[in-house]
Amino acid sequence: MTNKSMLKSALALATLIGLSACGSSSSPTASGGPGTVFNQPIAKTQRAAVNALVVIGCDIKKQEPTYVEGHRPLKMGLIVGSGNETVKVSLATVSPQKTSVNVKTEKSFVGGAGQKDWSKQILDEMTKALGR
């Protein structure tokens, strides 16, 4: 292999790694699925969603009757910090006393190593508050 072709291969590999590292990833289970159903009206479920986002350390960015969005601030660490995730909660009325909830965590490129999918914690916290 010549030096030129080795350089070409290295550049191609670096580009591939760069492309795969960019963009945001999201929880595969949280998006587009049937959602978790709570036996509560949508207004009460929405309040529980807001409280659950606060419990995991989100600043509430959007608070609408059928949608809540929070962002966890980025924290610097000695080795790996944490935060910089955006957590989105979508709500839909199934019946007057039943609400379907979908939770999606969006991770960002900055601080990716210290990020996690918060969907389970959100649903657990909502279950604690609302029951099922």
């Binding site: 807001v50 409280n51 606060v54 419990v55 995991i56 350390g57 600043d59 601030p73 924290k75 610097m76 660490g77 000695l78 080795i79 790996v80 910090g81 944490s82 935060g83 190593a113 210290g114 996690k116 914690q121």
Partner: protein, 126 residues
């Protein structure tokens, strides 16, 4: 001959201390439970019932949340959150705090601590 590097060690310690201080975050809020109650003065005393309930008649006026995250494996305690909890109670018009729930978790080197409480107002204090 022994080489001493006090400045390097001191610099490293200061740098680490700086990172630890900079990596501590606190978030807090209150949400009213029902009607809006006027806030209390910043110097007013807030009673804290970590367990049990007050003997005086009361009504629940707010949900209080304080969230602490510290990196470098540094943990938080209730006393770290208490001043902010009292501040949020005053802002929500509460005379006292009860129903204190603490949650702890961790993520890599980050230690997460969350306190949820209920702000109450004595019915005979109006």
């Amino acid at each position: 001959m022994k080489i001493r590097r006090p400045n390097l060690t001191r610099g490293l310690c200061l740098c680490l201390a700086g990172i630890v201080v900079a990596s501590c975050t606190m978030q807090s809020r209150f949400s009213p439970l029902g009607g809006t109650v006027p806030p209390r003065s910043t110097s007013s005393r807030v009673e804290v019932f970590q367990t049990g309930t007050p003997t005086r008649p009361y009504e629940r006026v707010s949900r209080l949340d304080v969230h602490l995250e510290k990196t470098a494996l540094v943990t938080s305690t209730f006393s770290d959150a208490l001043p902010e909890l009292e501040k949020q109670a005053r802002l929500s018009g509460a005379d006292a705090i009860m129903d204190v729930h603490e949650t702890r978790s961790s993520l890599n080197e980050t230690r997460i601590y969350h306190v949820t409480a209920t702000g109450i107002r004595y019915k005979d204090s109006r």
